[in-house]
Amino acid sequence: MTSPLEARSLSLNREGNNVLDGVSFTVAEGEIFALLGGNGAGKSTTLLAFLGFLEPLEGEVLVNGTSVHGDVASARSAIAYLPEAAALYGHMTAYENLDYFLHLAGKPASRDGLDAALDRVALPEEARSRRLQSYSKGMRQKTAIALALLRETPIMLLDEPTSGLDPVAIDEFHDLVKTLAQGGQTILMVTHDVYGACQVADRVGLLRHGQLVGSFSAGNGKRIDTETVHAAFAEREVA
């Protein structure tokens, strides 16, 4: 069976610098894979490669078994992407933003549909008809997450999804992601948050200087051990 997401010996340069160096991993259907790493490790770059924005120098990235480079459009249509510090349109309301982006995806939703998604991310109702420029950082992030939900794609690429969220919202978000995975969605998320990653992910990959240097799996119904991952993370960062 082909995996929804696969990186095969992925190496990639950005402006002449080697940013990813032989990264290989797969994410299975319904799996949550968290990519951990320090600043500049290459996490966001990995997501952009899956979206076909950056071309591999060597190796390849595959979405649903097909090389992204060969068919960018179908890769993108299978993926909901939550960018790092997602910026929606400040001069538009949450409804208008969602409406615009969903039309752009060719997948418009009814007002009820929008409300259902905004309920799931707990964006206050009174805010929904307000322009995003009056939102807090977390409210904007919630709106962007709602957009990713509404895409109803088989795959989600989430870049720092919990940044800006308060602890309660983070917990709710983790529950939400688990529910989505149980529903069959494949989730690749990128984060610095070791604890959060261990809470939610089925597997954690550790990325350092563009190389995948560790992998930790949950097993036997147990969560990944935060201590172990944190030790690995810290050790690698110091080294």
Binding site: L51, F53, A86, H103, A105
Partner: protein, 420 residues
């Protein structure tokens, strides 16, 4: 799918205040340009109507009590004019720099034609603010302002990747977004033009061609903006580059072309013609009569037997040296005419280098306000003057007895239909 893309981007545009501002400005400028044009054209028509009314009365007045063919011809002025076409409101063109009305009489003609040259209106480098100027020079700038940072602003706002990833293919986003702006700009510019055309009764073919030319030019500018804005640079760098290109294509290239063409085709000054003719005519008074009559009969062999002037004065001698005045400047006039025509031809070729010049020329051609139309008007004045001579010469030269009734049949100037 395409329709969905368009309605999405129309709604998006409706919330983009910056874009709405430029679009509103386009509409306002177009309304202003068209109103100015229509007002100017109506003003010119009123002027002509008044002059036409006065013309017959003035002439009747001047002819009243005349007892000689010579003095009747001397005092009778005839109005000639080129009425503005039904599309002239959109492009005043050479009407601003070449005279379109004269009062001519039987005296040496070229001086009368070129006298008006010396009091030309001068609108400087940019010219009059008419629709042609708006369409040729300002519209591209508005298009640049509407399109230059479509991509770059989204990059700066860190929205680019999300937008493109959501759209799937990049063109699904940028093409409709730019297309909607382009269409709105075109429509807002053209709407007042179409209303002006309705008011003026412009031929459908003229307005159709003008609209086509504007759309074509804007498409070229769109292509330019599109190519430049693919560069991964900041919005301000893109804007600077595009304004630079606009300056080059809309201002510098036309100005340089004009300078090069003018240097390449020296045109004798209209004033020179005037001066030479005056000198010729004035000198004739002091020359032996044969010096005038010989060249005259060379032109008109049919009057050879009447060409001997006895006595110190004769009207036919007077009109002969007027005629010779025209003959003397004829080479200069021919040069002037040819040079203007070849300037115009070369300008037509060089206009292919600049969409701005191309649009301006196309509009002037459609409006009958290009150099060719103005030269055609001058030629019509010459033809009319020749008719006047043909009418008067038999009586003048054969010195027939004066009969005021004959003057009822004086030729009348009929303007040719313009704009074609």
């Amino acid at each position: 799918m395409m329709l969905g893309n368009l309605t999405r981007e129309i709604r998006f545009l409706a919330r983009d205040r910056g874009a709405l501002f430029w679009l509103a400005l386009a509409l306002i400028l177009s309304v202003v340009a068209v109103s100015f044009g229509v007002a100017e054209v109506r003003d010119q028509r009123d002027t002509i109507a008044t002059l036409v009314e006065e013309d017959a009365a003035d002439r009747a007045n001047a002819l009243e009590g005349q007892e000689e063919w010579g003095s009747a011809a001397y005092y009778a002025f005839h109005l000639t004019y080129a009425p503005p076409s039904e599309f002239a409101f959109a492009a005043m063109g050479q009407r601003d720099s070449s005279p379109w009305k004269h009062r001519v009489r039987m005296l040496a003609l070229e001086g009368q034609i070129h006298e008006a040259d010396t009091k030309n209106a001068d609108f400087g480098l940019v010219g009059r603010f008419d629709f042609a100027f708006l369409a040729a020079s300002v519209a591209p700038l508005l298009l640049i302002l509407l399109l230059y940072d479509l991509r770059a602003s989204e990059r700066t706002a860190r929205r680019h990747d999300l937008l493109v990833a959501t759209a799937g293919a990049s063109w699904q986003l940028w093409f409709p977004r730019a297309f909607v702006r382009m269409i709105m700009l075109t429509l807002l510019l053209l709407l007042p033009l179409w209303i002006g055309a309705l008011m003026e009764g412009t031929a459908l073919s003229a307005i159709g061609q003008a609209s086509f030319v504007l759309v074509g030019a804007l498409l070229i500018w769109w292509l330019i903006v599109e190519l430049v804005s693919r560069i991964n640079a900041s919005p301000s760098i893109l804007l600077t580059s595009l304004i630079g290109l606009w300056l080059a294509l809309a201002i510098v290239v036309p100005a340089l072309s004009k300078a090069a063409i003018e240097a390449n085709n020296p045109v004798p000054d209209g004033g020179e013609i005037l001066l030479l003719q005056r000198e010729t005519v004035n000198d004739a008074w002091d020359l032996p009569k044969e010096a005038t009559m010989t060249p005259f009969v060379e032109e008109y062999p049919e009057w050879r037997e009447y060409a001997t002037i006895e006595g110190p004065w004769a009207w036919k001698w007077y009109y002969a040296f007027q005629q010779v005045g025209d003959q003397t400047v004829a080479p200069l006039v021919g040069q002037y005419r040819q040079a203007r025509l070849s300037r115009d031809r070369q300008a037509g070729l060089l206009a292919l280098l600049s969409p701005t010049s191309f649009v301006e020329r196309a509009f002037e051609k459609l409006a009958g306000t290009d150099a060719a139309a103005m030269i055609a008007y001058e030629d019509a004045v010459r033809d009319f003057h020749a008719e006047l001579r043909a009418f008067h010469y038999p009586m003048l030269i054969k010195e027939e007895p004066f009969d005021p009734n004959v003057l009822q049949r004086l030729p009348a100037y009929v303007p040719s239909a313009t704009g074609d």
